[in-house]
Subunit: 194 residues, 2 copies
DNA sequence: CAACAATGATACAGATCTGTATCGCTGTCA
DNA sequence: TGACAGCGATACAGATCTGTATCATTGTTG
């Protein structure tokens, strides 16, 4: 804690940042530790001092993604304390924007699940937890909106979000980003009307 | 053609079958050609005689997936000549069943896109074509159903299908399979009512 | 039977990948 | 000043991966 020299966290942080960018852009299996070392400008020894194995580094990469994702989510949530419906559309707004960004290359969690078939891979567990957290939050929002079946709404909305995130602009063209809110509107009115 | 000994197509077929199963189950980057050779019981030389590079083999794997997928689709389509709506629900039925199958490990096309970032990878092009074909067929169905905006329906339905296919039962539990038809019903009635 | 085409078996080249071992340097702090 | 912790640099071990070279074997076909 306070005994750690400042240099230490800088090196660790630089490695994780560089690795995260490369892992997301190229895929974790396509990026070797030597490339991470070269790009981050640290010694290979330092990488293995902070991350025992490459799998640990990959896991930390996904954990960082998780933190950033929910931090953003919480910010947006805090900005819409009145209406859960308004919050949902605001969440879908920045999700759509993210998908439409130039460097977007799919959902990190889904990509990891595609790269590693083993359910016991440490990074895969992080991915599973992420999706469960998403469903829990969607369910909470559905309850606040007084929808008839919050569980059903959360699962359906989760599928829609995954579909938009999964391939993004790569397999689809500009499509997914614009349809998130449209689909949510349809789902909501279906659970209100009749 | 008629000059080819029968053995030739058998060997090629055995290689492709084995590779396809391994590639889908473990991921293409996780499976080496040596494993394909060992599992299929052929000589390594034979593999490289029929497939110049591993990327070619991966591409053929996705092409085969494509063939099987649309053959199944066409069969179901032929079984429902009267109502486009009935056909759509039948298509979503077997898609849902496929997702719920024990060995299901995501959408092959999305998985390939996750594994290879290069847009010029031969297998990726097959994946992009596959998704475009899916949208085209959905749009045709939407037109037959006399929906207001077939293009919008096709894109939205495509996102939903991708979401259900992408992570399947791995990141979600039993969810996606059951919601395909439910979501389609909601979408359709939204484009009919009012 | 003889020519030939396809396969099998094996060894190997060359690259790449994860992880380790070793040593020297530097800044901190008692 | 002197012990020490963290980092950098380099070399390397050991495994794995794609792709090739070589040669024997088999089955078909004229």
């Amino acid at each position: 804690m306070s005994h750690h020299p400042q240099q230490a966290v800088d090196v660790r942080e630089r490695i994780l940042r560089t690795a995260s960018e490369l892992f997301y852009r190229e895929g974790t299996r396509a990026v070797g530790v030597d490339l991470v070392v070269a790009q981050s400008g640290v010694a290979k020894t330092s990488l293995y001092r902070h991350f025992p194995t490459k799998d640990d580094l990959i896991r930390e990469f996904l954990l960082r993604e998780d933190e950033d994702f929910w931090r953003k989510w919480d910010e947006v949530s805090a900005a819409h304390p009145r209406s859960a419906e308004q919050e949902l559309f605001a969440q879908l707004q920045w999700l759509g924007d993210r998908i439409a960004r130039p460097g977007y290359r799919g959902c990190p969690q889904i990509n990891i699940a595609a790269e590693y078939s083993d359910n016991n891979h440490p990074a895969r567990k992080v991915a599973v937890t992420h999706k469960a957290e998403m469903r829990a939050r969607l369910k909470r929002l559905a309850k606040s909106m007084d929808l008839k079946d919050p569980e059903h709404f959360a699962l359906a909305m989760g599928v829609i979000i995954d579909g938009a995130l999964s391939s993004g602009t790569a397999l689809h063209q500009k499509g997914p980003a614009r349809f998130l809110q449209s689909l949510a509107r349809t789902l909501i009115s279906a659970q209100r009307g009749a």
